[in-house]
Amino acid sequence: MAETGQHAMPQEAAGEAPRRPTPPRDYRKYLDPQVLARISGLQLRARLAVAGLYAGMHRSPYRGVSVEFADHRPYTQSDDIRHIDWRLFGRTDRYFVKEYEQDTNLNCILAVDCSESMAYRSDAAPLSKHEYATAVAASLAYLALTQRDSVGLALFDRRITRFRKPSNHPSLWRPLIDDLQVSIGPARTSLRAVLDDLAERVSRGVVVLISDLFDDPQETLRGLQHLRYRGNDVIVFNVWDPAELTFPFRGPTRFEGLEEQGRLLVEPRALRRRYQAQTEAFRATLDRGCRAMQADYVVCDTSAPLGPALSAYLATRGVRARACSSRTRGGGQR
């Protein structure tokens, strides 16, 4: 188990002296929504969740940022003479310049759904879907900032209501948390328009979409396709309340639809099988579509730990970093 003291806060990552190691604590419990629900501050929730994530890793390959030697190449004109390896010149009497692996600086856009349907929370869930989504978004922001990635934010319902450009400045953390804590309005989701708008604003970054995606899945996929077209990596976190997955209701129940979708009086037992078939088909459509466009599709149960969501981001970031590295290798742009 890794020492939690190894994980730097955004200020530490910016060059401040590391704090003294704190006594070992098991932070993994903070991935559990039941525990997170008892923590009132979103900022603290995010830090503890990330701490829990790190505590579960054997080794952190992403710790810190370094400029590492990769190879030598012959000196050519216009090369900066500061990169000439003078020791090698002394042995070979020829000019070589050092090549380094460039540390990628990702632009991560967190797109969080703030439509009315996200306010739903069943009795079995500790957090509403929106609370869960903001916890995931805050944790990812914190995680990204510790990786010196740039983090941007887009809050949306039928349109983007709040947009913050990506930045890796540590001071971004607090206003970003403040933005996430906006209340939910009565508006419906219109994902296609939102994603199209977002695609016009960001490119070549990582777009993390956190939503219940209660919209036409084909339209949603077209919007995601637009983002991909703009060179973005896309991670889709599809947030579900456990009641929406299992439909556990009994006895005559009148379901009063959020987002002005009317009401329906039914015997839930009689509808359960068909309802679940509908939701499974919905998820299958999105999963297939995302896979086809090489986007990540992650189903999040608000009663389940946040770990898979955060891990998905780190996995995508690693792939993205290696891809960028391979693209820039030999570039010597540093």
Partner: protein
Amino acid sequence: MSALAAISFALPSLAVAGVAGGAVPIVIHLLHRRRFRRTPWAAMSFLLAANRRSRRRMQLEQWLLLALRTLAIMLLGLAASGPFLTRSAFSGVPGRGTLRILLLDNSCSMQAVTQDVPDDETTRFDQVRAAARQLLDSFPDTDSVSLITLASPAGRAVSAPTRDRRHVQSRVDAVTAGERGTDLNGGLRLAAETIRGSEWGTAGAARTGSVVVYVISDLTRAALGEDVLADAPADATRSSASAARDVAGMARLVLVGVGTPDGEKALDNAAITRFAATSPLPAVDVPVRFRVDVTNFGHRTVEGLAVQVHQEDRFLRRMELPTLAPGKGETAWFSAVFDTAGSLGLEARLVFAGESADALAADNVRYASIETREHVPVLLVDGRPGAAGLSGAAGYLAMALAPRSAAGDRYALAPKVVAPYDLTGEVLSAYDVIALCDVPQLAPAAWNGLRDFVAAGGGLLVTLGEDVQIPHYNEAAYAGGEGVLAAELGEPFPPAGDERGTRLKHEASPHPVTSDFADAADSGLFQSRISRYVRTNPDSDRTDVPLRYENGDPAILIRTIGRGRSCLFTTSADMMWTNLPAKGDYVSLMTNLVSHLAPARTGHRSVLVGEPLAEPLSPAGLSRPERPAVLLPDGQTQTAALSTEVDGVAATYAGTDKAGLYVMQVESAAHTFAVNVDIDEADLTPLSKTALAERLACRFDYVSAAEIRDSADLTAATTDLSVPALALVLTLLLCESWLAARFGAAAG
């Protein structure tokens, strides 16, 4: 199922209730739909889509389950209402046919003349006979028929079921309507016996519905044994209903109604419902009071009615009656003086104005029998012998029973006063009533003699006073309830020195002793002051208390001992403890009391048509070689039979087929019997089908005799559908449970 089959219900109202009960699951379903929980829901689009796909199937399932539940409850109600299937005549048991039992009502009411066809006077029994013929003609030759008549007592006109249709037809033709009452109860029990004794009597055969019982009657209240002058159903009605249920359990019961319940077409009939002497002890040269009750049972007002009374050939009185509204009655009173002693017969006849008459003549005449005597001997035992005039209780009592008058009026009661020590010398049986007036005590032999006197039919009156030795009375006269005293004596009340006193309590009692005072709360009887009396401890099961004090203690107690009565007057009969003897009502009270205690000598001489005449014989009469003779109303003479009764041997005659005065010559004395029609037969209004259903409370078919031709299913047999209906209910419930589980599993 045959096209000739139809389902009927024994209790249609219950069937309607059962069908209405089918609404219960629907109501529960609707109420269930109104009780639901609300929840906000985000994934509405999926729910709406799922509902769109499942709605039709779910609705179908719900409607199917609801229909099964509704049907089960409706069928349960229908099963409880006694459904039965009527099948055509061709459905009898192969090789054996159907057993058909005809019950013909030939009672008095069937003599009623109908006016269905002008100038064609047919009686209701003519209609009964015609209906029977029609039914006989419609029966298949393979069916067996039995015939029962309903005139009381019911009897078999065809002893055993037979296929000989000609024989049955001849028996139907031979039956006539008499003046007897209706014995539907007996007729139905005979029918049940016939079924059980036949090859159709097994339970299995009964269930096949191959037995049909037809009751052809006017179906009046009298037919069901009901008392037309009483509101509450009689025990006889309950017996008829029980017998009808018994028959309906084994066969299809078809009631064929003669006459119509329709008020406009109902027959007019007025009748003398009562004719009797109200003076309990008629005596020679003493006015005897009579009462004649007339009731209009028709549906039209009757005017110009009169009652004429004859004593044999002697005209006695004619009384004009006021206009009688439908259903109303009128009472006429008259007095007559008879100059000879003996058994007399009187006839009261209803006389209509002009040429008019009513439908039934038999109930327009009523007969009464009285026995006049020279006097009624009463023995008064004076506890203070030698006291003159009104100084003692016996003196007051003698004066009350036979007041002395200057006009020399005769009275029925002839009191004789004796001293207690003279009692043993008297022949007690020579007296009708013996009164002990403040007698201190008697020898045990005297008490035993009094006990035997009362047991043989005599009357004993005991009045109290200061001289009465209470412990002696309790020990020797009451003897723990085995003696002749009506009740055990307690302490005098109020105690000595207490001068409060009390009064007698007025009650609207129908008891003959106090009935004269029922409507006279302010009479002297209730104004009199009682300064003292003796409290008693009566046996409520054996003792009547016709008069009480204001505090509820008994003033007069009467106990029946053997054939006689013993009475205890708990205060004094003189002015010692009460001032009652000074009131005029004292005379009426004591006269009524002694008359009530006197043995009834003519009660057995008033019977209904069909009931036997019986006159007790003395040992001397038994030794005579010749049999007692009976002179019938039509002048014929018949010989009476001798039969052993509970209290001795009696001369009896059973052939009282007609109303009238019958004279039985016994031991050189002529005893006149009054034989009357059952007055219940006078109400000619048939009961409606609904009224019959209420009274019989069993399943039956009803058809008017006029509709027999149109009722082809009358020859049909019935099959009980209750058990199949219950089986179907069970099947439906099982199906419902299985489908509910299946639908639930599919949904879950």
